[in-house]
Symmetry: D2
Subunit: 341 residues, 4 copies
């Protein structure tokens, strides 16, 4: 059985695991105050080219989104997001659980358009009843998006410009950031991205770690009482080292970026393979998630030998499915799949 | 430098780590649906002697307390706990964050007394204004308590009897359960404990795991929509295997219980050492946390060579400190300490 | 100056006020336990033809929506509503504040279509990832809607049928119920409406009271701990009599229904007037709110002599505005307006 | 039947009701933007001698406490209150519902002692683990307290001094403020009180209004987005005039203060009566609530002719009960009671 089910099917990248083993018996203090977290934070700041940033480590993606959004919004504010955004649909209402509305806007291929955002903000502020409505207090986008698509540098610049104009922070969910940055379609570097938002996170869980996301507050803008708020959310890890050690490994010798490149190369092979074999793709994804449309009978047949994910029904006889590559995907798996298709 | 700072200063017990390494490249599905979680759950149910139980894995202690309490209470109910309970004091308001009051009662050496509980419940229900007050909907105790003390089987039986009488669940926080069960003062087995409550958790973070707690719903009483609620709390790990694998190792060949015994043996040595050297202890703790009272000048001197925790000021010239043992404590560290005292 | 600004511009209907004056010095117990609340509840149950109902009195509309929705949903559930529903847009995020998502669906003239609801529920339950999503736990509609439109008996029957099929309650917001029931386009009686939902409220604030809404749980289905939850929301009035007395008056001699008829007659005159004078209406509202489209210059001119509300921009030169009638609207105001148009 | 059951047994003071009747048909805008609210606010600012204050009107006491506390605290902060404070015990967990802990401290006769507060704050800030604990972000006291007692000017000055030192606001719950200020034991004026806190409210519900409390932010410190937050809490009254008109009447010709004096005079008669007849009082209350200790048999006998409230059991044969006077108490009721005792 080969698996393209998701980008979190295996444990940790061997170099990450090695570092965990190597540091296992070194006693350190808890709650993120250890030297591994400190070292990882320094490396991340260097990689992002923003010495004035502050870095915090959180266990998982939904938890990170919930924590960042709820600690940066005022009580009466909501977060603006694409209708297809992870926070809008697939987090079990984690944002609303903290008392804040997700203000959902239409999108295109998973991307929030600058024009859509601008029009919404303008309409809100010119509405005579706006004080009876949830105030837009932050913008959330994901990079890559839930559909594997990427914002161009121009698109990010436009979105951030609007956020600056309306004085609300832009938050980039980078659960799969490594796979986005490594795409040949990506025209933005991590340093540039860090300058085009107020806070973003570098996903570890899907890019080589057992767990963990690194939040980068780009300009010394950690919310007040952040450690207490992390605890209050049940998100403060006693052994903070667990994430610190892993990110320290991921940001040594560009491992994080190498993982990205590796998975993207395999994703491109995958994509070429589907096209070559005559399959249609739901959209043209430039990153590690590919969305071929399979005939239902073919899908059932394939399932016996390959793990992949259901995405959505296409029509009565076809289904959109998702194939994901990651650091753990093997070249041979692609070859095996080629034979099966 | 030797360290008794806490029971979470090192990584994972070598056998746990080994299992993580060994299973690292096996692809599995996410969110706790993998075979490691299933296997660990079966082993835990067997160890607890309750086949009708259901087991869920959560990343950390505060998160577990928050999730269990908020999913088991009705909106208008609060959780009853000792004033010194972890949920009352040291979780940054994580329970209140979910909208529920912690109904704090007086305690003795960290333990909630049956009589105190009974009187409180009786007074509440006979108060003509009780509908204007938060209803007691659950009782929380920790085993061992935050002071390292243990409830006897009789005390647990009495508390649970009261809970049954008032038809509210009893929840036991077992963050350090392994160290409690291994104490020579403990007169209850894990099987008995499982029968004397509605839900409890077996702490992993402090007893050999990198992270993770195993929640045992003792009689098929998982709250409705629990997976969604876990997600909603940001507490659903994508790589659920991370905790499953670890608990699978901890519940193989009685490792969890062996770890407990090992740390308790060293804690007893530690205790004997303090007494022998003429130190007073804040209270007589039968578990892995010891609370000697140090003269401040001695404390400062010791700090240079030994890591331990501040607990509370005793008087102007003395301080209560905490020394903890765990699976990672070395015999030599005790010997070294003996020389220093 | 004449005013059509809203249906809550004046105090209370004279008969309501009279009853307040008349009962003013009678001492009664607090928190809704008084004989006026009891009498009003009986009269409402009789008027609704549902003896098995339970009635509770709440101060305002948003408060009522918040309380009903949050006490009837499970933690992990959200409420389904039209995108234009009051709870979706104009309550400052009051629903999300309680931790629940408003699951917004497309609408037609402010009405949620049965087909739309059915498709949404079917898709949700057939989605393999639905446990990662907020579960639809209730349906909210308003009668009349925010656009003044009405559901037909068939539409209500269809919606309620779907709710029954998926076993979720249907909640009808009747902030302007009196004006809906009195419309010549309304083909449902209050008795029928009570049978086509699980809970609804009879709006007082906009239909002759100083404040107050009467919630009708149609089949003995008051949420557990409701009084405590009302207190917990800050929604329990010490002088519960204030609302009880008013609803007692409103449900004496059909006053509530007479108020509705009166306002609807004037609204029809208003509508005829706009049409006669050549104004276009945004939509064909059969109730007490009318939405003419005014040229901006005309609008500015009118404003000097008539109070009305901004609704939304129509195009660069035109604006949709709202004119509302109520029990307090005077025949002469319509005549005065006729001269001005 | 005569009644001393509470201070909210009747409707509104005749002059308040008169003003409601008089203004009933004047059309005004909603949500507190009307001229009555504006006028009442001006009169209150003048009476308090603080022109830089801002005044907002809220419907009830618990709602006011919930709104003020949750809008003034940061996410990770709690409110410090006496264990017997209304927010601690009798609001159904309304504060916790907003996600904030009530940090309960010991009290004396219902009053929070400056020394107790100071010690608590000092201990909190010097605790090495304070970041794991809820931060004290506000102090709540009530004037008069739930036991009818009063803080002296010195006590208020001391408490406020500590709040200033720790830079946290002091909030005074004045649900019965009028009865406190009118007491012969009160050594503080409303102007002085306004200078000794950051926010307080002037209770209307218990002092002559049908409903309503006037919140005074003493130095232009209304929380950001307050109107939206009021809406979000379901606390924004459509007919804001209802409260505005009433406070306008209460602050015309010193009516609010006259009501206080009247009720206090009768309370003193009541107190003298109990003492004269040989009853013991639970404590020496200088305000409108008196707490005699009755023999149970006497209590049962009295109940047939007089309404009063159960307070708490005293011993097996005695009960503490509460008798309250208010603007609506009649001189004859005291005389009738004298005969019965």
């Amino acid at each position: 059985m080969i698996s393209f089910e998701s980008d979190y099917i295996c444990g940790a990248h061997p170099k990450v695991l090695e570092k965990l083993v190597e540091t296992n018996m070194v006693p350190v203090s808890g709650y993120g105050s250890d030297p591994y977290c400190a070292s990882a934070a320094e490396k991340i700041k260097a990689a992002c080219g923003c010495p004035e940033a502050e870095v915090r480590f959180i266990t998982g993606g939904t938890q990170t989104n919930q924590l960042i959004i709820s600690t940066m919004l005022a009580n009466y504010e909501g977060v603006v997001a694409a209708k297809t955004g992870h926070v809008s649909t697939h987090e079990g209402g984690a944002i609303e659980y903290t008392g804040h509305k997700v203000l959902e806007l239409p999108e295109k291929d998973g991307k929030l358009q600058a024009e859509t955002l601008n029009k919404y903000l303008k309409t809100y502020w010119s509405d005579g009843n706006h004080e009876h409505m949830v105030a837009p207090g932050m913008v959330y986008i994901s990079f890559p998006t839930e559909y594997g698509t990427l914002y161009s540098k121009k698109e990010l610049t436009d979105l951030y410009g609007i956020c600056r104009e309306y004085d609300i922070p832009l938050f980039i969910d980078g659960a799969r950031l490594g796979y986005g940055l490594a795409s040949s379609s990506c025209d933005v570097t991590i340093q540039e991205l860090a300058k085009l938002c107020d806070v973003f996170y570098i996903g570890g869980t899907k890019v080589g770690a057992l767990c963990g996301e690194a939040v980068v507050f780009t300009h010394n803008n950690v919310p007040k009482g952040f450690l207490t708020q992390t605890k209050q959310h049940g998100a403060l890890l006693a052994k903070g080292r667990l994430i610190g050690v892993q990110f320290d490994a991921l940001f040594t010798d560009d491992l994080y970026f190498e993982i990205g490149k590796y998975a993207i190369r395999l994703a491109e092979e995958l994509k070429a393979l589907f096209i070559e074999k005559g399959y249609k793709l739901m959209l043209d994804s430039p990153t590690n998630q590919q969305f071929p449309i399979l005939e239902n009978s073919k899908m059932e047949e394939l399932k016996k030998e390959v793990a992949f994910s259901f995405w959505e029904a296409y029509d009565e006889n076809h289904t959109v499915v998702r194939f994901a590559t990651s650091w753990s995907t093997q070249e041979e798996e692609i070859q095996k799949l080629a034979q099966l298709l």
